[in-house]
């Protein structure tokens, strides 16, 4: 059988291939089937991220905005569209002229490793990427359509570049006459695009079997497993893992037998209900062949050193975190570490890749240790990173030394919070005392560390959220990247959701596909918005998501710090020694640009206004006249008093504006390191370690 495997875009710049395509390619090849793989995200990037194209689209937006501005009395819909366009147009057109060079930089190790170049070019790349996926009102980064609306008629007007690429891609795929089109959705964001592609395939070739599967298949936004509607564009949905059942499904189609006898399947039965078979997970991960990357075109991924992705286990060996999806909490299984190293060798021999991302939910420390020992024993030239958790074995210097000698260069820890109380609420099992000891060993042996964390877990106070930030910010000599993952969002398949009473919360549907919670005593949770801005702009989650960490982990501490959000945006006001605050100068950050618009679609008076665009985050913020004036005067560093003199505003107003601008990374304080102070609670673990 001819199988077309498609990995839809997942709203992340295509820098490394997701592991599902190589894994499925391997099992299909082993079963004697022909595979053609399409990383649609990579194809969209290749065909759209070009200076001339993006400039053209920008100009179309400009013209569309001008047309709307000229309308005498705009209706609500026109005002909304004008506002949407203005926010996109706040990104300076001049950035786009650098796009081709930015893509070239991503494959040039010297320039990629130069933080001054990297910061600017990577901002350009991400800003253009965001624009491509936002041009049309239906674009992913606009309020993406959820539920049935995803398959509704497209909004006319501005082009939708990814959809245009999909049209051509689907033609190309169908020209190869596949028997089966398989859509793999490892992240929730990919389902949006997968459904669009499925719709195009079915419109052109109703006879081709379309099946969707992947770890994100249990989606709140698009309940494809349970809602018959989605079977208008899908023939089958495969739940669970595909290594065993997907080849069986293809075999069944090939032999003309009934595929509905294969496990893990969902389909639309004749009576309109969802037919299903029992879900079986892969019982023996050791029996699965090594991932096969032969169907992917590595030359088009944007990294100077290509990165191979592979897994050593399925599920999470800890399985207790109350915020985590059940998908990860059940059925932990493991592949023998020596076989994992065999996989790395097979990938190396097939592609020349020697950089690896061990992409587990949570890799057991012993597995990593055994991989390191094996890599060293076989004298393999591999460099690798893994995702893990602060655990007792990492307190042992010997463990860290073995990992370093076996090629490990980066460990990313699920940290979640710097508050022991919140960690207990999460049932995380992290001991904060472990953190400093582990980080000290890692620094000694040259393994860089990153952490992922979030705020807003039920029961967490605002102060505890600040402690988390400070805990990490005060350890940046040992913590390479701070993966702030935004404010907490509640999932339905979590312990927290199942045991709402235990946590004193009540879940409710805020909007379609979006859950929120309130406390059972009637109080609302605190508003995470401003902290979210402050921590996101100072965090490095986008660097982690885009697999920048393994490459940067080999550079100097100075180079690493220079690409971090914390370094680029500086401290928060509360971190500055009060004794020096009044004489601290502030300056506008180079990442911020301001664009003025003649018409304010939100104001009946119709006066002009301005929008600030932040190239590090891609966020845009409305500015009133005072905000604009503040940013103007801070082209030159000024203290509070000097800003008051330059603007004529009241001191209280200046303090409020500067606080907000610093919080959002638009203005930074110029302050000596010794005048930056963190909350004493954040330093607690370090003190415990010192005293012991």
């Amino acid at each position: 059988m001819r199988v077309a495997l498609i990995h839809p875009p997942d709203a992340i710049i295509p820098i490394v291939p997701c592991s599902s395509i190589p894994v499925l390619t391997a099992v299909l090849h082993a079963a004697g089937h022909t595979v053609k793989a399409y990383d649609a995200g990579q194809i969209v990037a290749r065909e759209t991220l070009q200076t001339d194209k993006v400039e053209h689209w920008y100009d179309l937006m400009e013209a569309a905005a001008a047309d709307l501005e000229a309308v005498g009395s705009r209706d609500a819909e026109q005002n909304a569209e004008l506002r949407r366009l203005q926010r996109l147009l706040a990104m300076p057109r001049s950035m786009i002229t650098e796009l081709d060079d930015a893509i070239a930089m991503m494959r040039d190790m010297d320039r990629f490793s130069n933080p001054a170049i990297f910061n600017r070019k990577f901002d350009v790349l991400r800003a253009c990427f965001q624009l491509v996926y936002s041009l049309n009102p239906d674009g992913y980064f606009n309020m993406r359509r959820v539920g049935h609306d995803v398959l509704g008629s497209p909004t006319p007007g501005l082009p939708d570049p990814p959809m245009e690429v999909f049209e051509r891609l689907v033609d190309r795929i169908l020209a190869d006459r596949p028997d089966i089109v398989g859509l793999t959705v490892p992240f929730d964001s990919a389902i949006f695009f997968a459904l669009k592609i499925a719709q195009m395939v079915k419109a052109r070739a109703p006879h081709v079997v379309v099946i969707m599967g992947g770890s994100a298949i249990e989606s709140n936004s698009y309940p494809v497993m349970t809602d018959p509607f989605y079977f208008t564009v899908l023939d089958y949905v495969m739940i669970g893992e595909g290594e065993v059942q997907f080849p069986r499904f293809v075999d069944a189609i090939a032999s003309g037998s009934d595929p509905r006898e294969v496990n893990n399947l969902r389909w639309l039965a004749e009576d309109g209900t969802i037919g299903k078979t029992e879900m079986l997970l892969v019982t023996d991960l050791n029996a699965v062949p090594a991932p096969d990357f032969s169907a992917l075109d590595y030359d088009n991924y944007m990294l100077p050193n290509s990165l191979g992705t592979l897994q050593t286990s399925r599920g999470c060996y800890y399985g207790k975190c109350t915020f985590c999806s059940e998908l990860f909490r059940k059925g932990f299984r493991i592949r023998r570490p020596d076989l994992v190293v065999d996989d790395m060798v097979a990938i190396y021999e097939q592609t020349g890749i020697r950089h690896f991302h061990v992409w587990d939910s949570l890799a057991p420390p012993k597995t990593l240790k055994k991989i390191a020992l094996e890599v060293k024993a076989r004298n393999l030239p591999f460099v690798w990173m893994a995702e893990t958790k602060f655990e007792r074995p990492y307190r042992e210097e010997e463990t860290i030394r073995i990992l370093a000698e076996g090629g490990c260069r980066f460990l990313q820890f699920g940290f979640e919070s710097g508050s022991s109380r919140v960690l207990d609420l999460i049932d995380k099992g992290n001991d904060l005392d472990d953190v400093d000891q582990t980080l000290a060993h890692m620094k000694k042996y040259g393994i860089r560390a990153g952490v992922t964390w979030f705020i807003g877990f039920p029961g967490e106070t605002e102060h505890e959220a600040d402690v988390s930030y400070d805990f990490i910010a005060s350890r940046r000599d040992r913590l390479m990247f701070s993966g702030y993952a935004r404010a907490f969002s509640l999932g339905t398949d979590t312990i927290l959701y199942e045991q709402q009473e235990r946590f004193g919360i009540e879940a409710f549907m805020k909007s379609e596909g979006v859950l929120d919670f309130r406390y059972r005593d009637g109080t609302e949770h605190w508003d995470t918005e401003e902290r979210n801005h402050a921590f996101w702009v100072r965090g490095d989650f986008y660097l982690i998501m885009n697999s920048i960490h393994l490459h940067y982990s080999t550079l100097s501490q100075e180079a690493i710090m220079a690409v971090t959000g914390q370094e680029r945006c500086g401290p928060l006001i509360r971190h500055i020694n009060p004794d020096v605050l009044e004489r601290t100068p502030f300056v506008r950050t180079p990442e911020v640009s301001v664009r003025h618009f003649r018409v304010n679609p939100q104001s009946a008076a119709g006066e002009g206004y301005a929008i600030a665009f932040h190239s590090l985050t891609g966020f845009s913020f409305d500015l009133d006249a005072d905000g604009v004036r503040l940013l103007e005067v801070l082209d030159t560093p000024r203290t509070y008093a000097q800003i008051v003199t330059a603007t004529g505003f009241a001191p209280e107003r200046i303090h409020r504006l500067v606080d907000l601008a610093v919080n959002r990374g638009m203005v930074r304080a110029i302050v000596e390191v010794h005048d930056i102070h963190y909350l004493p609670e954040a330093d607690l673990a370090a003190k415990v370690l010192a005293s012991s």
Binding site: L281, T283, Y318, G331, N430
Partner: protein, 168 residues
């Protein structure tokens, strides 16, 4: 490769001998205890190991009545051997908890077998024998699961040590 063992015994009575067997693998011994009831787990809280006495030996213990394979993987990272105490009780906990989703039962056995097969540490599975009239007084479903545990996990063990037979 690791040296996994299945010890058939009276789990409460024979702990000294079980500990002695585990000590052959090395000085650092882990214990996955299935004793705590699932509904009491929120009170137990995070799965952080604690030092306990087991048959006169200090062991690094985790309470885990359900996802014992995952707990085994966690302890494997710093131990020479891990005692899983004990299969009959684990079967009871699993069948009682997953009464509406029996597919989860096999999943947990697969998980345990997968970790045993990965060779991360020596695993000592503790179980009552299943011979007629000698098994622990489990319910029918738990007894059936216990039997399946021995069928599925037994092949991952290099040796079966029957202390109950020795005692007779």
């Amino acid at each position: 490769m690791s040296n996994n063992l299945l010890v058939l015994c009276d789990p409460d009575r024979d702990q000294v001998e079980i500990a002695r067997i585990a000590a052959r693998s090395g000085a650092t011994i882990g214990l996955v205890s299935t004793a705590v009831r699932p509904q009491d787990m929120p009170a137990v809280g995070c799965r952080v190991e604690e030092v306990r006495d087991y048959g006169g030996v200090s062991v690094q213990a985790l309470d885990e009545p359900l996802i014992a394979g995952a707990a085994l993987a966690q302890l494997s990272s710093f131990t020479d051997a891990v005692i899983v105490h004990h299969l009959g009780q684990w079967a009871e906990r699993l069948t009682a908890h997953h009464i509406e989703s029996p597919e989860r039962l096999d999943l947990e056995l697969i998980s345990m077998g997968s970790v045993m097969n990965a060779g991360l540490t020596d695993v000592i599975l503790v179980s009552t024998p299943m011979e007629e009239g000698r098994s622990a007084p489990l319910g029918a479903a738990a007894e059936q699961l216990h039997r399946r545990m021995l069928e599925i996990l037994g092949p991952y063990c290099a040796e079966v040590i029957d202390l109950s037979r020795a005692a007779r």
